[in-house]
């Protein structure tokens, strides 16, 4: 192979892999941003009782709205983050996809409970979801600091 062709192919391979790394980083950043948005959502949900000029039913409507928003974000996140793992081994990908699918299911569960105003049953589901996130982060050596704010 001529050196010029070799250099051309090498540069193509490097560009593609750099693009791939860039995409991975963008996806990871997006995942972090979504986590921060959910952190705000959870914080506002915790403080619904302090909203002024609300009856208890209006507060329940607020809780329902926040939880539906949260469930939508979880479902969206479970779809989006599937691509983060693309350059890992097949086994890792299988485990990660199981995590993301469960995350989506948790989102659906929260939506059903919120629509039935069963808020007392939502808290364990949220805790399960947090445990799921922590377990995934631990398994893939990801920083857990974002999750520490969910307390």
């Amino acid at each position: 192979m001529k050196p010029i062709l070799f250099l051309f192919f090498l540069s193509m391979i490097l560009t593609c892999s750099a693009q791939e790394t860039l995409n991975q980083n963008t996806l990871s950043k997006e995942h972090k941003t979504r986590s921060e948005k959910m952190q705000r959502l959870m914080h506002e949900l915790d403080n619904v009782m302090y909203k002024q000029n609300r009856s208890e039913l209006e507060r329940d409507d607020e809780r329902r709205r926040y939880l539906i928003r949260l469930s939508e974000k979880l479902e969206l996140m479970s779809d989006k983050i599937k691509k983060i793992i693309q350059n890992r081994s097949d086994d890792d990908q299988k485990v990660f996809l199981a995590y993301t699918d469960t995350l989506g299911d948790q989102g659906k569960k929260i939506k059903v409970l919120a629509n039935n105003y069963q808020f007392e049953e939502v808290e364990p589901v949220i805790q399960e979801t947090l445990d799921l996130c922590k377990s995934c982060h631990d398994g893939f050596n990801v920083d857990n600091s974002v999750l520490s704010h969910y307390k």
Partner: protein
Amino acid sequence: MKPFFLIIFFLTCKGIASNHDDIEILKKRVSSLESKQNSMIKATQVQVGGRVQLDITTAWPEGSLTPGGIPLKKEGEDGQLGANIRDSRLWIKSKTPSGIGMVRTVAEVNFYGESGNEINKNAHGVALRYFYVALGDFKAGQANSLFTTYITPITLVYPLNHTFARQPLLAYSYEYSSVFTYDFSLEQPESYLSDPSGSQITPQDDQVPDLLARVRYYPSWGRMACAGIARYIVQDRARLSDGTQLENRDALWGFGLNASAKINLYALDNLYFGLQYGNAIGRYFTINAYSDGRLDSAGKIKLNTMLGTLVGYQRWWTSILHSNIVYTRTSIEEGNENAEDTTDTSEAWQINLIYSPIKNGRIGVEYAYGNRELLNKESGDMRLVRLQIRYDF
């Protein structure tokens, strides 16, 4: 070897059969649990709750932080201390699934009824706040008016432009999408006028309900709400405060707007805005500081136009410690020549620090400064400090 294989075969079959039995038992248990759960969901669920709230307030001079309550110069005494639990609340709510949606009810009271003495009993009377039923998107009973400010920063004393009413109403909400909701209501009318001597009267001649519409918007960057109101202000041979009965009838349509918004800033911080404007917002606005309009000596109605504004910043120092700094201003844009002692403009600053060491509990301290000027140019100001301890259960 054969007997050994036969034994293995027998044990395997037994195992399969026993597993099969276990599965059947488990299936029965699951279906019984499901039916139990379904029957629980179908039943009415009742929940009782409330809040305990202790307010300790001292002011220089004594007065209240409302456009009509800020003391004028040389009025009131300094540093008087007051404590009460009157804004504590009790509520009971229920929910019952039905074929056309969840039926929910709520009744809530506070202790702003008849005032008890502070000598030894402090037996304040119970006062009704809410009592209504919500069926799916419909609501009927005594609830918050749609004109009540929807988005406000957290203050321990209500801001000057506090806009609210709790009254009998019929309301319908339409959730257009997860970010847009439209609300419509017909609410109890009540014309609230200044008579020629400047006293405030309620003629009790109303014929048309207050008509309200509101849009709520929940984008990812914050939230907004805007309510519009149309009111038919009427007097029909009204009796004035001096006992004189007018001999005519007069009526006018008036309108108003109440917009509020919250913008998400860095981390958990927020920026708040509020705007109230209109010529028919009097009785909803600033806790009775203004009337809807005034009557001349011939019994003709002229409406008062008012403006309220709010800007606030909420700073979360940590997830359990936060502060709010809020500026509010109110003014009467047109009227009320019947009463020169009506507040022309008022403004206030409030700053607080609120700590929530446990879930549902908080302790906060707030400093407020307010001033006002009357139409006759008399003026006054006050400072106030409030400590509040609150626990929701």
